[in-house]
């Protein structure tokens, strides 16, 4: 065991956990004032819900003893066997419990990302049930396929350093499916739905960027050169994407603060799968492409009149899809000897594996989410009543208001 690695990953647990309240603020600032608390709570509650689910059985399903490459077994139920000694399957130098804790923070934020699709109209009870089902039936299996010992995509050699598929593509396309089932907000397209507090969104974005160092650099599971590389690629991609979105926003008229902040997040999402496998210069290119890709995806979504309210699909789903492909092109063992080479480094096979993983993730997350959402829609319903929606979820769902 290595105390340097352990100390670093311990810190990263805090950084990544911080990303969930940061996401809450990022989303909260963009909804109408009457729904601010509700939006914050939708992300916040996962800190509790998934922390418990993970310890009880989530970790086991994700990283437990492999069953046919599809799911983990129940050998780590209740975190039994998840203790201070390293688990050689995942890391030689940090305690097993620390690996499990670090992974928990990813499991927490991923469903929170999806909430962007359902704000301002979701029924809280239905949402809680959905969150639990999604974590169990979508996140845990997908996590196992890509990162779990024996997972079939991992065995195939997919490169996903910190969660391009497992976190961002899954969340983005699940959000798309959910938005299609729940339908648009009342008045979408007719009434103004302005962000109530852009400073909150900017604060959230800043905290997300900082936290992302834990997300990406921490995924090296060691305090070493690969972690440093991941930090540099993360930072560079975010910075570049922020600048490019600023320019796109400028072409619209004036460079918007909200646009700049969004661009940075898009760069972060895009570089996530590539961060430990590509060079900082490549990361600049990744960020530069991610910004217009997400920007025009947003415009497309708007033109199609789909109320995927906070653009999770455009910003996370599409950005990380590009990131996974970029990994298949630009990965190099010079950066990470534990990875593989991409197409531009003599291994065109890798691109094929990446594309397969992307397609699998998209189909699985979209399909499963659509089905779960439909079942909830038909049984207990997904939406609050029209009057509750008009009054605002803060008062109707939580009996509170943000500002008195």
């Amino acid at each position: 065991m290595n105390s340097g690695d352990t100390a670093w990953v311990l810190v990263c647990c805090s950084l990544v956990l911080l990303m969930t309240p940061a996401l809450a603020l990022f989303y909260g600032g963009m909804v109408r004032k009457k729904n601010l608390l509700s939006t914050l709570t939708l992300s916040f509650i996962f800190m509790s819900l998934i922390s418990v689910q993970w310890v009880l059985y989530g970790y086991s399903l994700s990283f437990g003893a492999d069953i046919k490459g599809l799911i983990g077994g129940l050998n780590y139920i209740g975190f039994t066997g998840v203790d201070a000694l390293p688990n050689a399957a995942y890391s030689q130098t940090i305690p097993h419990g620390l690996f499990a804790a670090f992974q928990m923070m990813f499991a927490i934020i991923t469903p929170a990302l999806i909430t962007g699709a359902l704000v301002e109209r979701i029924k809280f009870k239905s949402f809680l049930i959905f969150g639990l089902l999604w974590a169990t039936l979508v996140y845990d299996p997908l996590c196992h396929w890509v990162w779990g010992q024996g997972g079939w995509l991992k065995e195939m050699g997919v490169l996903d350093f910190a969660g391009g598929t497992v976190v961002h593509i899954a969340a983005g396309f699940s959000a798309l499916a959910f938005a299609m089932v729940i339908g648009p907000r009342k008045g979408f397209g007719k009434s103004p739905m302005e962000p109530n507090n852009i400073p909150l969104t900017v604060l959230g974005a800043g905290l997300l960027w900082v936290g992302w160092f834990g997300f990406n650099a921490g995924s090296a599971l060691a305090a070493n050169g690969v972690a440093v590389n991941a930090l540099l690629t993360t930072n560079t991609s975010a910075a570049t994407a922020g600048l490019v979105w600023m320019m796109l926003s400028w072409l619209d008229g004036r460079p918007s603060t909200l646009g700049i902040a969004t661009g940075m997040i898009v760069g972060l999402a895009a570089v996530t799968p590539a961060s430990g496998y590509v060079t900082p210069l490549t990361a600049m290119f990744i960020g530069a492409v991610a910004a217009p890709l997400s920007y025009y995806s947003m415009r497309l979504r708007d033109k199609r009149n789909l109320d995927e309210s906070l653009d999770v699909w455009a910003c996370h789903g599409m950005a990380s899809t590009w990131g996974m492909i970029a990994t298949g092109l630009f990965a190099t063992v010079a950066v990470n000897s534990g990875g593989a080479n991409g197409m531009f480094f003599g291994n065109p096979n890798q691109l094929g594996i990446q594309i397969l993983a992307v397609i699998v993730t998209i189909c699985f997350s979209f399909g499963a989410t659509y089905v779960i959402a439909k079942l909830l829609h038909w049984s207990i319903g997904l939406r609050v009543t029209p009057m509750e929606e008009e009054v605002g979820l803060d008062i109707s769902s939580h009996g509170e208001r943000s500002y008195s």
Binding site: G187, K190, S191, M387, E390, V391, I395, H398, G399, E400
Partner: protein
Amino acid sequence: MLKKIEAIIREDKVNDVREALKKIGIVGMNMIEIRGHGRQGGIKLLGRAGSYQIDMLTKIQINIILSDNNLEDTIEAILNSASTGEPGDGIIFIYPVDEVIRIRTRERGQEAVMYPNDIDAMKKKEPA
């Protein structure tokens, strides 16, 4: 004769009322956020542990200045779009207005509250 309508309505009815007014050609208006209550009792909000009562609820007051030949049509439009049938729907006050002056053009009286395609223009277009 010019009149002022103060329509104190539910926050969540603002869009419906504005749309109904636009439809009949009432164009100029302003609104302010206001707190108050009539005969009903307020609502119960949740704190950290337990609940508390709030009496003065947030409503929106829409102010419209118009000539009195359009008064009844406007009142009708507001009543139909602002009402839910539940306590808390609001109240309308009507006042006489001494004078209206448009700042940019210095128009006074009737001319100061006229707009292209407004309620009077729409009525003129209708066959007699």
